[in-house]
């Protein structure tokens, strides 16, 4: 399968005059933004190796090279634009040198990131957001989860309705590693309407594009460029692997602001865990069936 055409890699950009654009994360990122934004100071992406030794004592060692998370953190610190970070699995953690020079343009910093990481980090500008994709491709036929085509046809009034339908669509089409979605809002509530009141009540989504494009199209409908998504691959308590895609609203406090928010978050995570259990079980069943069918075919 090919990468959807909608992905536009920004490979060559003409020079734009120097200008300082304050708080650009409140407006969509554009080609002009990429060239106009310049770093105010040297920002070295940090690289830490953290852990607990066998006695449970913590240790921390600073590395010369950085990793995907700290590279993203450095970019966020240096350039105020909306970022969507897609963290593919990497074991052991892939490290590379990365520092943002004073006065360096955002577009140049992104190119340096790509070059210094040997292609482990990719970037593109889509839907007013800088999409950072980290990951090693392990096989020629492997398609990164966000690039996978996804057939969806649903109507959703609330975020919960939408994410459940995206999950269902994805997990019915792919069963190697299940996907769950989450929506992180300041009020911790995912049972609120997706669209603003001045738009139609329900979101209608019918497409056959990449998962990335599905999510970005929904974010377009939300209308706030500060709303971004992030993807990671992780494991549950039984060490079963799954993808989690979180849609993040701006201004989410580090601490719950009310008991209601804390309870809603717990309920949301509980519901997500229950869905994930179903997806994991279903994916295992289908993998077993596929393995059995393959074995039968060989016999």
């Amino acid at each position: 399968m090919s990468t959807p055409n909608v992905i536009c890699a920004i490979l060559a950009l003409s020079s734009f005059g120097y200008m300082v654009l304050p708080s650009c994360a409140e407006t969509p990122a554009t080609i002009e933004t990429l060239s106009a934004l310049r770093a105010q100071e040297l920002t070295a992406a940090e690289g830490w190796v953290l852990g607990l030794d066998q006695e449970g004592n913590p240790y921390a060692a600073e590395m010369k090279d950085t990793d995907a998370v700290h590279a993203t953190v450095a970019l966020r610190r240096a350039y105020d634009v909306p970022y969507c970070a897609e963290y593919g699995p990497s074991n052991p953690e892939y490290r590379f040198p990365f520092a943002i020079e004073p006065n360096q343009r955002l577009v140049d910093a992104l190119d340096v990131l790509k070059k210094n990481s040997g292609g482990y980090a990719q970037w593109r500008l889509l839907h007013g957001r800088v999409i950072l994709t980290y990951g090693e491709r392990t096989g020629a036929n492997e398609i990164f989860i966000m690039d996978r085509p996804l057939k969806v046809d649903f109507q959703a009034r609330t975020w919960r309705e939408a994410i459940v339908q995206i999950e269902s669509a994805y997990n019915s089409q792919y069963y190697d590693v299940p996907l769950v979605l989450d929506v992180v809002r300041p009020d911790s509530n995912d049972e609120v309407t997706i669209l603003r009141e001045d738009k139609s009540e329900s979101l209608h989504m019918k497409s056959d594009v990449s998962l990335r494009e599905v999510v970005l199209s929904i974010l377009d409908e939300v209308g706030d460029p500060r709303v971004v998504y992030g993807l990671a691959t992780t494991t549950d308590v039984l060490k079963r692997c799954y993808h989690v895609l979180r849609i993040r609203y701006p201004d989410v406090p580090a601490e719950f602001e009310s008991a209601d928010a804390a309870l809603r978050c717990k309920d949301r995570i509980r519901a997500q865990t229950e869905r994930l259990e179903r997806y994991l079980d279903d994916a295992q069943r289908r993998r077993d069936e596929a393995a059995k069918a393959a074995a039968d075919a060989q016999e």
Binding site: L50, P58, A60, V69, A232, V244, T273
Partner: protein, 330 residues
Amino acid sequence: MRSTMTLPVTMAAMVSMLALGSFQEGETVVTYEAIPRPTGTLSGAPALMTPGTDFRIEASDVEDMDTKHTVSSSCSPSTTLVSDGSAGSYWTVFDPGAEDSVEIKKLKATYTTQSWNAESEGEGDYGSYAFTTATFHFDDGREDSDPRHDSAGLGGVTTMKIVPEKVTTALGSGPRCHGGMHVGHCFRHTVLNVDFPTFRFEGLKIREKVLGTICEQWDKESEDAIIASAHGEWTITGDNSFDLDDCHTTGEDLAPLLAKNPGGVALFQVYCLESWGWPAKNPDHYIGKGGSFLSGIHLVMFRDESNTFCRVTKDGVTCACTESTCPGMS
């Protein structure tokens, strides 16, 4: 004050002048020697820099006497000491953090000390102190060819710049409650320079930085959010404590990790110097960095011990409670 003295060597010089016939009747020959050595008293204050103050340096009682030899036609040589000026004198200030040494052509001056890079310019295990030194060079301003010319280093004065090298942790206010849920606790912190335990860092601004988290079921997206949401800033008060407790609670970023890590989530946090007279030269440096692998790093452990009780332990300090004592659900 002038004084007259007889110097045998000088006499020999005059005799030789007479012998060479350069001395004619009715003339008075005057020669000079740049002795004795110039003297002066140097002072620098304060010995320990504080924010908003300058390093005051002064060379006082600076005196340069030259020896004047006079031989008149009456052949009655005399030797006197005459006072000379100090017009070419200057201070050279060597200040860790400044790009170059600074020359100040005054006897009395003030110098604003600069921030220093703790890791490359600081001294001690943590780079938490540095010395600014000013050396005074006496110069009378005369040409080198002038026998009265005096130039000499008269010594130097030093001041010390310090920043904290340790942040202590104690249980602060708490618990943090939402409804009946104990969602975290606050901790009280104090900054300290071990060699100067009574030194007041009042006004110092610091900010937190989260280096990362560790737990069994970990995900980079959560880690990214946790690091990005660490924005705490504090100002040090007169008793060297943070103006507010540092509160660690569960929230949207931590909740997903806590939910699938019954063993807890460990967060690595450090405190960086933001500004205090010397704004941070190296913004990535943090208080206590450099002593050992964990020096300066604060470990915050979160663990959901029940549905309503999240235990937070920071640097081994935690509340004595074993269950939520928060008032009922709102």
